[in-house]
Symmetry: C2
Subunit: 250 residues, 2 copies
Amino acid sequence: MVTTDRLPLSPDGLEAALRAIGGERYHDRHPFHHRMRDGLLNRGQIQAWALNRFCYQSAIPRKDAGLIARLDDPALRREWRRRLVDHDGEAGDDGGIARWLVLTDALGLDREMVVSGRAALPATRFAVEAYVRFVAERPVLEAIASSLTELFSPAIIQDRLTGMLANYPFVDRDALAYFDRRLTQAPRDSDFALRHVRDHARTADQQAAVLAALRFKCDVLWALLDALDHAYVRPALPPPGAFRPEPEPC
Amino acid sequence: MVTTDRLPLSPDGLEAALRAIGGERYHDRHPFHHRMRDGLLNRGQIQAWALNRFCYQSAIPRKDAGLIARLDDPALRREWRRRLVDHDGEAGDDGGIARWLVLTDALGLDREMVVSGRAALPATRFAVEAYVRFVAERPVLEAIASSLTELFSPAIIQDRLTGMLANYPFVDRDALAYFDRRLTQAPRDSDFALRHVRDHARTADQQAAVLAALRFKCDVLWALLDALDHAYVRPALPPPGAFRPEPEPC
């Protein structure tokens, strides 16, 4: 973990510190993801993941609009607007949210139930709304930095594609169209956001803030899998950075 | 569960419906509470509970001020102001938050660490902030209704007092001063809030909204224990109302 007394870093040093946060805290390290990738989940557990993750997916355009609403620079607004197009599409049947519903359809979930969010875990809603608020309210630089989990997403997306196709007979390539598209969208978005953060986070305070923003976002994604793991799979694992009790005396 | 087509109810019917929500969803039904009461937690698990619960306790005056800030009626503001006094006290060493720190001190937790919140679970923060926001942003009637979990709190407080004193040698009566005080404060507060909700929730829409507000608040409290259970104790239990997969075919 980068201690604040080493700040400010060079742009390369800052990028390395951001990437180190991903290495420690990104949800590709979460046991629920490992179980999914390795074919150890059953259909009900994959359903639970897909319908809870829909809450996250469907909130992303609100999150992005909350940032655009505070940008004075048309060029930056246009850049960020691409994310709205990616997720909401041009019509009702394209865009990332529509593609996510292709997955939940393929999993046999009722579309109205999925869209309503009523069967999602409260913890999912709390974490997702915390992210939407963060981006709508924190300084623009931090809001942009919180998107940098996409630096780490190609690997987890590839894991999901490969692992789900290999292991779950109820999932086929068509059901996974969402992920195919994200493999090109995510790097384009994270390249831009990373460049912005490298260029604009120069002081120690700014750098501490963008590092904290990325840790916050990793906490959000981790909390989503914790909630699923707890409700639908299994035991005891404090998230990165949380209190760990001393071993009990014998 | 009350279906909305039975609304509007009489004031007594509404109160019964509110109490029924507590019977289904209040966190006295959560396995983490049962383990605490029954002496099945170890010291580290009690520490984790106390420091995460501090995040909740310490946010309550912000929550209450968010409501007072929107009240036009001085009498209602004065009534609600008592909650600020209860939690923040008249000086630094009285009030509910200070009494909670007496407990965390007794458990051997570093006070600065507890107050900073940095070792708390992200899921705790997300749930607590969801509650603070709810009360600051939803209609006053719903904000007041969300406090009605206090209708159910005397029993859980008594459980904690009795269970903790009987079962945990590292907890004594002085450490539990917070709970002693709440046994009289909570009923006074919930009597007022219940009367307000009975008097003001008359239409079907208002009643549906106050019932939803109480369910929301139960979800917050349940999520706090889910997060603790997941991080520090044990397995798989979807919260009330969440998706439950079909049994796997044999």
